[in-house]
C-alpha cells in the first residue's frame, strides 16, 4: 500500500510533475504492484548476503590518464544537442536567487 501523499512526495523527489488525476491513478496502480512485491517477505534471507555485482567484479579501474577523447567534430555534436548553447557553454536557468 502506498498513500497519495507518498506518491506526491516521490514524484517531487523524482522531479516529475503529476496532475491530480495521475496521482490518483498511480496511487492505485503502485499499491497493487507493491502488494505483489510484498510476497518477498515470505522468503528467508537471514543467511545470505545481498548481491553486490552479479559477475563478482570488484573495483574495476582504468589508468589515471586523460583518455584519447573524441575529436572537435564530436564535441560539437554533443554540445549541439543542448537546448540553449553559447559557444562551449550550456545555458541553464538561474539556480540561485
Amino acid at each position: 500500500m502506498i498513500s497519495k501523499e507518498q506518491v506526491e512526495h516521490m514524484a517531487k523527489l523524482a522531479r516529475i510533475e503529476l496532475t491530480d488525476q495521475e496521482k490518483e491513478k498511480f496511487t492505485k496502480e503502485l499499491s497493487s504492484i507493491l502488494d505483489y512485491i510484498d510476497k518477498l517477505n515470505k522468503v528467508d534471507t537471514s543467511n545470505i548476503e545481498r548481491v553486490e555485482q552479479i559477475t563478482g567484479l570488484e573495483g574495476v579501474v582504468r589508468k589515471d590518464e586523460v583518455p584519447k577523447f573524441k575529436d572537435a567534430e564530436t564535441r560539437n555534436k554533443i554540445l549541439e544537442e543542448a537546448p540553449e548553447r553559447k559557444g562551449d557553454y550550456i545555458k541553464v536557468p538561474k539556480i540561485l536567487d
Binding site: 516521490m10 523527489l13 510476497k39 552479479i54 554533443i78 549541439e80
Partner: protein, 491 residues
C-alpha cells in the same frame, strides 16, 4: 531472390556467387520495409543513405575479387536504444525524439567493421520498459502473424523486422526478457548473452545490472554469427569480461550431438510448468523435451525458487536502477526541454525539471521512476531494495546448485519463454498483468545467465517459443543446445 528463403549464410553465399549484388539485396530489403512499415510500424527510422553507402562498399570489394566475410553485405536492423552515429536515437520516447547520436555504440562499431548493412532503427517500448511495444511513444508494433496482436517487447520492432523479412538479423536488448519474449511471440530466435559478454557502451541504459544486448535472427546459426561479432571485453564498459569461448565441435550430425555436453543432462524446473502456463504451450514444450530424449539426453526435475519471488525482486531492483538511470533526462544537456532562456523571468530550474520530465516521459516510464524512487527512499530501502538484492543472491545460488559440475549437475535448462502466445493489443491494461508475462524470463537476468528463445511448433497458429538457459558464461553451450534442437527438427 526470395527474401523469405534467405538466411545470413545463404545471402552471403548469394553475394559471393554473384547471384545478386549487395545493392540489389539492400534495395530489396529497403523496399519491403518501406512498403510494410506503415502497417507493422517495426521501424522508427530507415537509415537508407548509410545502408546504400555500405552496400556500395561491399560491391566494390566483390568486383575487385576481394574476399568478403560472412556478415559482409548482410542487412541488419538496430533497436532504437542503441546508438548509430549521426542518426536519431529515441529510445521510443518523446524525451529523445530529436536526439542525434554523436557516436556509435561498441556493438555498432563492431558490426560496421565486418561490413553489415544497417537498414534502420527499430521500434521499442519507451526506454525498453514493457512487454508489448504498447508503451512506445511512436505507436505499437503489430505482430505479422496476427495484426490484432502485439509483437511483444520491448524489442518488438527488432523481432518483427526479422519475422517480416525486413532484415536478416537485428539487435535487441534484454533486461527482463525483452529479446526472448518478442522472439517467442514472433516465431524467431532471440538470444540474451550472459551479463558481461556484450558491451553496453552506446546502449541507452535502463537497469545497469540487468541490461544486455543480444541478436535476433531466423536461425540459431545466424544468431551465433552476430553474437560472435559483438561479444568481448570493452574498456569503455567496465562490466564486460573476457570470457573464454567454450569450444564445441559443432558437429552437424544430430546423433553425435549429446557428446558435446559434459553430462548430457537437461534440467526441467517443475515450478515453471505449474499453474499459469497455457496448456497449449505446455504441450508443445513436452514435444521439445521428447526430441532431446530421443537422442539420448537424460532429464532431471530440478527445483528453482518460485518464479513469483524472482518477478517481485525484479520489480524492485529494476525500477530502482531505472530511477537512477533516467535522472539524466532533465532538459539541460540534451533531449526534450521546456527551458527557454528568453523566458527566464517566469521560469526557474525546478519548474523546468518537473515539466520537462512530466511532458517527455510516458506513463510507464514515470510509474517505474516513482516506484524506484520509493523502494530506494529512506525508511524503505532496507525492506525493499536490500531485501530484493538478497533474494537475488538466493536465486543465483539456486542456479549454481543446479548447474554444479561437482554435483553432477545439468548442462542446461529447458523452460517456457512466456506463459502464453502473443496477447491482443489493449488486452493488458493493468500494469501488473503486463509484468506477469516476464515471469519465466527475469531469472536469467537476475542471475546473469545466458538464455535463448527458440521457436517450436512452426506453422500451427500463433508462434510459441521455448527457452534454453545455461550456466554463467557458457553461452556457446547454450547456442549449441539450441542448434541441436534446430537440427533435430530439420530431419
Amino acid at each position: 531472390m526470395k527474401l523469405e528463403n534467405l538466411t545470413i549464410e545463404s545471402a552471403n553465399r548469394g553475394l559471393i556467387k554473384k547471384e545478386f549484388s549487395c545493392i540489389e539485396l539492400t534495395r530489396a530489403y529497403l523496399d519491403k520495409i518501406k512498403k510494410e512499415n506503415k502497417e507493422l510500424n517495426d521501424f522508427l527510422s530507415i537509415t537508407e543513405k548509410l545502408a546504400l553507402e555500405q552496400a556500395e562498399n561491399v560491391d566494390n570489394k566483390i568486383s575487385k575479387r576481394e574476399k568478403i566475410g560472412i556478415l559482409e553485405g548482410i542487412p541488419i536492423a538496430i533497436k532504437d536504444n542503441i546508438l548509430v552515429k549521426d542518426y536519431i536515437v529515441t529510445a521510443g520516447s518523446k524525451i529523445l525524439e530529436k536526439y542525434k547520436a554523436p557516436y556509435d555504440a561498441f556493438v555498432v562499431e563492431r558490426l560496421k567493421e565486418v561490413g553489415v548493412i544497417i537498414v534502420g532503427k527499430t521500434n521499442l517500448d519507451e526506454f525498453a520498459m514493457g512487454s508489448s511495444t504498447e508503451n512506445s511513444a511512436f505507436g505499437v508494433v503489430k505482430n505479422p502473424y496476427d495484426k490484432t496482436r502485439v509483437a511483444g517487447g520491448s524489442s518488438g520492432g527488432s523481432a518483427v523486422a526479422v519475422a517480416a523479412n525486413h532484415c536478416l538479423g537485428a539487435l535487441g536488448s534484454d533486461t527482463g526478457g525483452s529479446i526472448r519474449q518478442p522472439a517467442a511471440f514472433c516465431g524467431v530466435v532471440g538470444f540474451k548473452p550472459s551479463y558481461g559478454m556484450v558491451s553496453r557502451n552506446g546502449l541507452i541504459a535502463m537497469a545497469s545490472s540487468l541490461d544486455q544486448i543480444g541478436p535476433i535472427a531466423k536461425t540459431v546459426n545466424d544468431v551465433k554469427l552476430i553474437f560472435d561479432v559483438i561479444r568481448g571485453k570493452d574498456d569503455l564498459d567496465s562490466t564486460t569480461i573476457k570470457a573464454p569461448k567454450f569450444q564445441v565441435q559443432n558437429s552437424k550430425q544430430v546423433q553425435g550431438a549429446k557428446s558435446q555436453f559434459p553430462n548430457s543432462k537437461i534440467g526441467i524446473p517443475k515450478e515453471y510448468f505449474a499453474e499459469g502456463l497455457d496448456s497449449g504451450v505446455k504441450e508443445e514444450i513436452q514435444k521439445v523435451i521428447k526430441n532431446f530424449e530421443n537422442i539420448g539426453f537424460e532429464f532431471v526435475e530440478i527445483n528453482l525458487p518460485n518464479p513469483e519471488y524472482a518477478l517481485a525482486a525484479y520489480y524492485i531492483i529494476m525500477p530502482a536502477e531505472v530511477s537512477a538511470n533516467l535522472a539524466r533526462y532533465d532538459g539541460i544537456k540534451y533531449g526534450y526541454s521546456t527551458i527557454k532562456i528568453s523566458k527566464l523571468k517566469t521560469q526557474n530550474l525546478m519548474d523546468n525539471y518537473l515539466k520537462t520530465r512530466a511532458e517527455g516521459f510516458g506513463s510507464e516510464a514515470r510509474r517505474r521512476i516513482i516506484l524506484g524512487t520509493y523502494v530506494l527512499s529512506m525508511g524503505y530501502k532496507d525492506a525493499y531494495y536490500n531485501k530484493a538484492q538478497k533474494v537475488r543472491a538466493l536465486i543465483k545460488k539456486d542456479f549454481e546448485k543446479v548447474f554444479s559440475p561437482s554435483a553432477n549437475g545439468v548442462d542446461f535448462i529447458i523452460a517456457p519463454t512466456t506463459p502464453a502466445p502473443a496477447f491482443k493489443m489493449g488486452e493488458k491494461t493493468d500494469p501488473l498483468s503486463m509484468y506477469l508475462s516476464d515471469i519465466y524470463t527475469v531469472t536469467a537476468n537476475l542471475a546473469g545467465l545466458p538464455a535463448i528463445s527458440i521457436p517450436c511448433c512452426k506453422g500451427k497458429g500463433l508462434p510459441v517459443g521455448f527457452q534454453i538457459i545455461g550456466s554463467q558464461f557458457k553461452d556457446d553451450l547454450v547456442l549449441e543446445a539450441a542448434y541441436t534442437y534446430e537440427q533435430i527438427n530439420l530431419e
